[in-house]
């Protein structure tokens, strides 16, 4: 035996190749945290006005929409809290849109790393979502300052807000996983997603509040509640701004009618995880 006494022979361990989560939980979270933080720092603190720029986009959109929907169409003019509702909705939707559209190309744009190093593949799309989530947290600070300045009283239901954020994060992550891995095979996913994300913006009650002074069409409201995003956004409205507004269940016409949204939500999560796990070992070859 040539091995010196202090060097213990290491046991052989079977390696099974690349995977979504391979390399241990510890390493996954270390890497996820590090990648998200560095990316966040790079994007928002790289330039002098880094963070401000990221805030400008939703604020501009907010300004334009506020003008259009209070001065031109006058939907919002009927509702006292319309501006804060609009701002909150836009900031939340910006998170969903930013995360998912960045996630689409994330795996492919990290091609060099994927093809030449071994690490849990799932880190890539999720770190995109986490980076967007950091941005969301900062934006929410601004939004809540605005909400308080507007004169909305803090309520006990504000404590439920993290629950809504949690479900939004989950949904965003699932969609991001699905898109990032589909894009490896099908390059038109990017274009298709731009259109779908646009459609989802209008299929979510952001511009038009539901209920009295709002949409005032129960059939459409019921149909809207098939969209899990709509359910989350409407609950946020009730919890944060207007306890009198119809809850998601009321808008859907009974709690039972939330079932389709729940099924879609769970299905997206399962599909995202399943597809990513299935494709992860082969990503390096497909690129």
């Amino acid at each position: 035996m040539n091995v010196s006494p202090e060097r213990q022979p290491l046991p052989l361990r079977e390696v099974s190749g690349p995977s979504a989560l391979g390399g241990g939980r510890r390493r996954f979270f270390d890497l996820l945290w590090l990648m998200s933080v560095t990316e966040f720092r790079r994007t928002y603190f790289g330039t002098v006005f880094g963070y401000l720029w990221s805030l400008v986009r939703p604020l501009m959109l907010f300004g334009v929409l506020l003008f259009v929907f209070t001065q031109v169409f006058r939907i919002g003019a009927k509702l006292d809290n319309y501006p804060v509702l609009l701002l909150l909705g836009i900031v939340l939707y910006t998170f969903f849109q930013e995360a998912t559209s960045n996630a689409v190309t994330s795996v492919v744009s990290q091609e060099g790393v994927v093809r030449k190093t071994q690490f849990p593949r799932l880190v890539i799309p999720i770190s995109v979502v986490v980076t967007a989530a950091f941005n969301l947290l900062l934006n929410l600070v601004v939004v809540f300052v605005f909400i308080l300045a507007w004169g909305v009283e803090p309520k006990l239901t504000w404590l439920l807000f993290p629950v809504a954020i949690f479900f939004l994060f989950l949904l965003t992550t699932a969609v991001s996983m699905l898109l990032s891995v589909l894009y490896v095979r099908f390059r038109d996913v990017a274009i298709i997603w731009v259109v779908i994300a646009q459609m989802l913006f209008y299929a979510t009650p952001i511009l038009y509040p539901l209920g009295r002074f709002g949409l005032e069409d129960e059939t459409i409201e019921q149909w809207l509640m098939v969209n899990p995003l709509a359910v989350i956004f409407e609950q946020v409205r009730v919890w944060i701004l207007e306890p009198d507004a119809p809850t998601a269940a009321e808008a859907a016409g009974g709690a039972i009618h939330l079932l389709p949204a729940a099924v879609i939500f769970v299905a997206l999560c399962v599909l995202g995880v399943w597809t990513f796990r299935r494709e992860a070992p082969r990503i390096a070859e497909e690129l």
């Binding site: 091995v3 790079r42 060099g112």
Partner: protein, 425 residues
């Protein structure tokens, strides 16, 4: 390994642990490893296409990159993997590195493996050296704490202390390479997988790399090195493996593997034939020019020390009073090394060559050429009238392999001895 090689390329012998012997614990065990790539002849890369033609059966061409290979590498071994492009060696590397998944077979690895398929993979140009080292280290499986602990040592080895907080986009390529290499050296994995990273940087950094490799070898690290450089394999490796066409062609002594690799390599590269169009004049036509084996088979390469058998076949197209056939042997740089020739048809008085006659010239010479590519030019001169009947530029093109790696073009059998007189002060 030939005696000469042993002298020329002996690594510093001090402090080297003895090479691992059979019975030592294994670092890598590979059994029946197979990998087949399915290459679509028509790639469906849009959802639209998939939706429009949902039942179109995609056509695949199968590429067997690895065909069930098995081998073992012992702990503390410096193991070389060589092979031509497309031999499957990169696939093997990526399977070992967990970048691809195997179709069949198992890979077992003892401890942590760090792959270095390319220096500086995953470096982000917009981040500082410090941030990149942290990210890279964690990617290779260290904890952030461990990396922070080594951060200064890594920056120091790369000689980049002053630039640690500079973004990488402002780095020179040399600085990048140094940083990447030093991350690799500090990765402290149990098994290192290295793909041709030695051929980077300037001479002084190369020396530093070489020293680092010797040090890793001395520390008893298991290192798997994939390279084209036979000298590197012979210098560092305890054992080497030659892969060809997805199978193990040979496994064993690095010197033998090196020679086998060169033979395999040159077999296909050398064409050993003549330029079109220049092979015929009004008087003479070239039928064939070749290097032959002892059995008369066509060769494109000759090992150093063997016999070079040249065969030239010509056809006379017009009656000629006789010709002189001359050969000039030149190396790849176009430098003529020596020439030789023979008169044909004029020896026994004036025996003319008649139209339609064929003539063959054979020459045998001892191959004292050093490894490389060589050309033989042929000139066929009219015996009495003078002038050139046919000139064949690069009539034969062949390769020499094996032999000593020395300066110069030829290495004849040399016996050299030195005596020191007894006595004196």
């Amino acid at each position: 390994m030939s005696a000469h090689n042993a002298i020329a390329h002996q690594p510093p012998a001090d402090a080297l642990p003895p090479p691992p012997a059979p019975g030592d614990p294994l670092a890598i065990q590979v059994e029946g490893l197979s990998k087949t790539f399915r290459i679509p002849t028509h790639r469906v890369d849009s959802l639209k296409e998939r939706v429009v033609r949902p039942f179109a059966k995609p056509d695949y061409r199968e590429l067997h990159a690895l065909r069930g290979i098995s081998f073992e590498i012992r702990q503390g071994e410096f193991f070389g993997i060589v092979g031509r492009n497309g031999s499957g060696k990169s696939t093997l590397l990526k399977l070992l590195a967990s970048i691809y998944r195997a179709d069949a077979g198992t890979i077992r690895i003892a401890g942590r493996l760090a792959p270095f398929i390319e220096l500086g993979v995953g470096f982000n140009q917009d981040l500082t050296a410090r941030e990149n080292v942290l990210l890279n280290g964690v990617m290779m499986g260290l904890t952030p704490k461990e990396v922070r602990h080594r951060l200064d040592a890594i920056i120091e080895f790369a000689e980049l202390e002053e630039f640690a907080d500079l973004k990488l986009k402002n780095y020179s390529s040399g600085m990048l390479v140094r940083l990447a290499f030093s991350v690799m050296m500090e990765a402290d994995a149990d098994v290192l997988l290295i793909d041709e990273v030695l051929a980077v940087g300037d001479a002084s950094f190369q020396q530093k790399c070489a020293d680092a490799f010797h040090e890793m070898k001395a520390r008893g690290k298991t290192i798997v090195l994939v390279t084209h450089e036979m000298e590197t394999v012979e210098d560092y490796c305890h054992r080497a493996m030659l892969i060809s066409d997805g199978s193990i062609q040979r496994l064993g002594d690095p010197g033998e593997i090196g020679r086998e690799y060169l033979r395999l390599n040159f077999e296909r590269e050398s064409t050993a034939t003549i330029h079109e169009g220049e092979s015929e004049s009004e008087e003479i036509r070239l039928v064939d020019a070749r290097i032959e084996g002892a059995d008369g088979s066509r060769l494109s390469q000759v090992e150093h020390g063997e016999t070079i058998r040249i065969a030239l076949e010509l056809e006379v197209k017009r009656d000629l009073p006789g010709v002189d056939v001359g050969f000039l042997l030149a190396n790849a740089d176009g430098v003529g090394i020596f020439n030789f020739g023979i008169p044909v048809g004029e020896a026994e008085g004036r025996r003319d060559l008649a139209a339609g006659q064929r003539l063959t010239v054979r020459a045998e010479l001892q191959n004292s050429l050093v490894a490389g590519r060589y050309f033989i030019h042929c000139g066929i001169n009219r015996a009495f009238e003078g002038g050139i009947a046919l000139y064949l530029q690069n009539a034969i093109d062949f390769l020499v392999f094996g032999g000593p790696q020395t300066r110069g073009v030829v290495y004849p059998g040399i016996e050299i001895e030195a005596n020191v007189e007894e006595g004196g002060r």
